[in-house]
């Protein structure tokens, strides 16, 4: 049973928490403060130093930013959550543990052992015992390779935003934003507001997907306002939006100096003769987000495939995964944005505490989920994107595996699925464990929806820490 809200969580090292929340972005923050409101003894873990996750990433205190809100949509929502967290921390109802990267969840007789490596340098490990775990690990960007995408200056759209929001820096002065999905407009809007020139936003779809279901859009006017806000900023800065187009090559030797943009057909196949060159000194590229669910799939949690092909966790109306004691909120259940993540965090906290949430919260989740599915369907990568690859284009950045080697594995060595391609080519076997090349490798491996990736270690772990074995929370 939950303890009363007034009881401090300061506990002996062996004591379990009622709930460990993994990830301190919108979903995790909302879940942790709600769980504490409801009387659960809660620990909030995040690999980053501060709360906020990727969406609310913000400058470190040392940078003295007076107006961090200027880089954020809905900044006051974050400060509200952060204030509530601080109050709970002061009352010792929640512990926030930054720099805690969770690399495995282990089921134990009475809950979970949460295995953690600590600090950006993974200096030591700890093990956090908890009765229940709520996964709020968010998402990372889906990438599709193109010739030249490994050049310095080509960065992910989310990466450009992260570096800007946290470090107040830009990768260049003239930045082409390209790929697909709503993040592109947000990224372009941030970049121009922060002083960059954005010669083009290159979007592979034509956004017609949205128009087909106007009823769903009308139900979430806030999303329209947010989109219109980005659009207005881009208009004011004279940023050209190029729909149904893609960056098909980045040029340069030591760093990117230009890109070639081409029109795409409905299948995302580049249309010959439509190429045009745009000079730039940086490219920010991304094709939507992929749920980060390794910790759950390793425990056998069931998954579902969203309309854009991204694999997320299958949860019920109470945000329970199919693993007893494991809940999931936000992008891990299918990418849907910060508003949805917060709603799901609150709902999941209620479920863990065995409390009934307000019906309005449930209705809001349903509405936002529908919108998320619509967005996903609109931005599903078309199969023709492989038309811009060349035999020597590296697909796996870590192991430098080119397209030709993957095609050889498929055409001549009998690989027809991503795992076999990986075994035969090393694509996906490097430091990032296939997070960057996974979608491309799956596409090149042949038809069929790949299942979830399996990563028993959710992040690299120093061998000495594995050798040391589990230890209590320090």
């Amino acid at each position: 049973m939950p303890t009363s809200p007034s009881e401090p969580v300061e506990a002996p090292q062996s004591a379990r928490y009622d709930l460990a929340v993994v990830g301190a972005g919108p979903a995790g923050l909302a879940a942790a403060v709600t769980a504490a409101d409801l009387g659960l003894r809660c620990v909030l873990l995040d690999g980053g130093r501060d709360t906020g996750g990727q969406y609310y990433r913000h400058p470190a205190p040392g940078l003295g930013a007076a107006r961090p809100d200027r880089l954020h949509h809905g900044w006051s929502v974050y400060t509200g959550l952060a204030d509530r967290l601080a109050a709970h921390e002061r009352a010792e109802r929640v512990r926030f543990r930054g720099g805690h990267q969770v690399w495995a969840l282990e089921r134990t007789a009475d809950g979970f052992a949460v295995h953690v490596t600590r600090g950006p340098e993974a200096a030591d490990r700890t093990t956090v015992p908890a009765r229940s775990v709520l996964l709020a690990t968010g998402a990372y960007e889906r990438q599709l390779p193109f010739p030249g995408w490994t050049l310095p200056g080509v960065v992910t759209a989310g990466g450009a935003q992260a570096m800007l929001k946290a470090g107040l820096v830009l990768p260049g002065r003239r930045i082409v934003v390209a790929g697909s999905g709503p993040l592109l407009l947000a990224a372009a809007s941030s970049l121009v507001t922060a002083g960059a020139e954005v010669p083009a936003v290159v979007e592979a779809t034509d956004y017609l997907g949205y128009a087909r279901r106007p009823g769903v859009l009308a139900a979430v006017p806030a999303k329209l306002v947010e989109g219109a806000g980005h659009g207005g900023v881009l208009l004011r800065h004279g940023v050209r939006l190029r729909p149904r187009s893609a960056v098909v090559e980045a040029h340069g030797t030591e760093r990117v100096t230009a890109v070639t943009v081409a029109r795409l057909d409905a299948e995302w196949r580049p249309v010959p003769g439509t190429e045009r060159r745009i000079d730039c000194d940086a490219v920010a590229v991304g094709h939507g987000l992929l749920p980060q669910i390794d910790l759950a799939t390793e425990l056998g949690a069931a998954t579902r495939t969203a309309p854009d092909g991204a694999v997320g966790l299958r949860v019920d109306a109470r945000l329970r995964t199919t693993v007893p004691g494991l809940w999931s909120a936000g992008e891990t259940n299918g990418v849907g944005g910060a508003d949805l993540a917060i709603v799901e965090g609150e709902l999941a906290a209620h479920a863990v505490a065995d409390r009934v949430p307000k019906p309005a919260l449930l209705r809001r989740r349903t509405r936002l989920r529908k919108f998320a599915e619509l967005m996903a369907a609109a931005h599903r990568p078309g199969p023709g994107w492989t038309g811009w690859l060349r035999p020597d284009t590296d697909v796996c950045r870590c192991e430098e595996v080119p397209v030709a080697r993957i095609r050889e594995a498929v055409d001549e060595l009998g690989a027809g699925d991503p795992r076999t391609v990986k075994l035969l080519t090393r694509a996906g076997m490097g430091w990032c464990q296939g997070r960057m090349c996974g979608p491309a490798v799956a596409c090149l491996a042949g038809p069929g929806e790949p299942g979830p990736d399996r990563r028993p270690l959710a992040c690299p772990v120093p061998l000495s820490q594995l050798a040391a074995g589990p230890s209590g929370e320090g």
Partner: protein
């Protein structure tokens, strides 16, 4: 003159310090990551790949892609997008796996 990110958020950072990159000083603001300090100095690459010897730097910016690895204070394979730039931090361009000294 266009606006800078620091102007946008009204930043009044603490006093700048320096890190060392390949033997030369690079300014850094308190709270910046190593990668951010290098970007601010116009540096985009601080690693060469194992197979092709190609230059790499930040790609994902959130610690997921491991492209921004460098040798930091003598330790190879450090993610510079996550590591804070502390005064005196020494960053060296990492060649390949960064552990050639261990080869036998």
């Amino acid at each position: 003159m266009r606006r800078t990110p620091a102007e946008l958020v009204g930043a009044e950072p603490g006093p700048a310090h320096h890190i060392e990159f390949d033997g030369r000083p690079v300014p850094a603001l308190p709270g910046q990551s190593i990668a951010a300090a290098l970007w601010a100095d116009g540096v985009l690459a601080w690693r060469t790949t194992r197979v092709g010897g190609r230059p790499r730097g930040v790609f994902c910016g959130i610690g997921a892609c491991f492209d921004c690895l460098a040798t930091v204070d003598g330790r190879p394979n450090q993610r510079t997008c996550l590591l804070p730039a502390e005064p005196g931090t020494t960053v060296t361009t990492q060649e390949g796996n960064g552990r050639a000294d261990l080869a036998v």
